[in-house]
């Protein structure tokens, strides 16, 4: 690795550093400060040490929310990544249908998150919603407002509907950028479609897939708005994920100390997972 001589470029980074300081570093510092204190409002704080961290780490409620979160993120990744890849592979590369497909794919991404929640809330209602009526019409007893499994099914389906497009668009961009020469060479060698996928497309998609998985991991691990709009964390606590529980503790109960401790643990988990994932995917590559 050689030293880059033009260090003036660093000044161009300065505005970003300033922006990140205001929207991330300072709030994070405040959360750290909250996490070691107790407050009853009015900006009066009492020292609590690491009490909240101990409480949160040992609380059944946190373990349950974390478990639900991991399950949700795992499910979402298992469905969205292969599905997105498949759709991207099936999409046309040339002709008038390209723009139609791209617009269709982009549509769910343009809908505000709370609208997605509200939309699915009505769409899946068993008495008046199109989806809910249809499933019940098939003879399956489905009511996401009462059944935990029904709620999970709806939440996962909503996330797949909302976010698979992102994976599709990323993979499609990756696929389009593969030069024709690779395919021609494969054709000359008589490669079957599976071999083309395994030895040309998949390796070339490594970076976009890494980004897709990272983005979907982080977003699904922090999901809040859509689920609150759809189930509000219920029935019971069955779809109360970490962020929903966090908001309940911070704003519902106004326990800023425990909420601060929980935020930091939450943040560290996301940081660790993202780092591990990125490092493992990029191992052996020049960065």
């Amino acid at each position: 690795m050689k030293k880059i001589d033009n260090n003036k470029a660093w000044w161009f980074v300065a505005p970003v550093v300033l922006l990140v300081a205001f929207n991330a570093v300072i709030p994070l510092m405040t959360v750290v400060n909250f996490s070691v204190q107790e407050t009853f409002g009015d900006n009066v704080f009492f020292w609590a040490g690491v009490q909240w961290f101990e409480d949160v780490l040992r609380s059944e409620r946190f373990h349950a929310a974390l478990f639900r979160q991991v399950m949700f993120t795992g499910l979402v990744l298992l469905i969205e990544i292969p599905l997105g890849l498949l759709i991207a592979l099936a999409m046309p590369r040339k002709g008038p249908w390209v723009s139609v497909c791209l617009v269709m794919m982009a549509l769910p991404l343009l809908i505000p998150w709370n609208v997605v929640g509200a939309m699915w809330n009505i769409f899946a209602l068993p008495d008046i919603g199109l989806l809910g009526r249809m499933i019940n019409g098939l003879g399956i007893d489905y009511n996401y407002t009462r059944q935990p499994i029904g709620a999970w099914f709806t939440v996962v389906l909503m996330d797949v509907w909302h976010w698979t497009s992102l994976v599709v668009l990323l993979c499609y961009a990756g696929l389009v950028s593969i030069p024709d020469a690779y395919y021609q060479a494969a054709k000359v060698d008589g490669a079957r479609p599976w071999a083309v996928f395994r030895y040309i497309q998949l390796p070339k998609l490594k970076y976009v897939l890494t980004i897709a998985i990272l983005l979907r991991f982080m977003d699904s691990f922090m999901i809040y708005t859509e689920v609150v709009g759809l189930t509000g964390g219920g029935p019971g606590n069955s779809t109360t994920f970490l962020s929903i529980d966090l908001v309940k503790i911070a704003l519902g109960q106004f326990d800023l100390g425990p909420a601060g401790a929980m935020s930091i643990i939450y943040f560290l988990i996301i940081l660790l997972m993202s780092w591990l994932f990125y490092t493992l995917m990029m191992r052996g590559e020049d960065r």
Partner: protein, 96 residues
Amino acid sequence: MDAAPLAWMAWTWPTALFFLFILGCFVVMSIWEYFVPGGSPRHGVLGLDTTRGDRLFISLLGSAFIFLAWLGIVGMPLTAPIVIAILFAIAVFIWV
């Protein structure tokens, strides 16, 4: 620190020292980089290509989890995890 303009941030001395420590790490890393440029990259025991900055990141993140694990399993006091975290950081800077 009430009437201060930063009162809303609810600063305490321990947390301020914690962030000063992190800032100190960055300053020391910058000075180190100035005198020995390039970040001394290498292929460590975990099979990862790391620079000094990566090793600091691994040390800090690892230390955070050492403390969390200790708090969750054992609890106070925190002298043992401090020692473990320092040993971990030294190990990371030597081998990883």
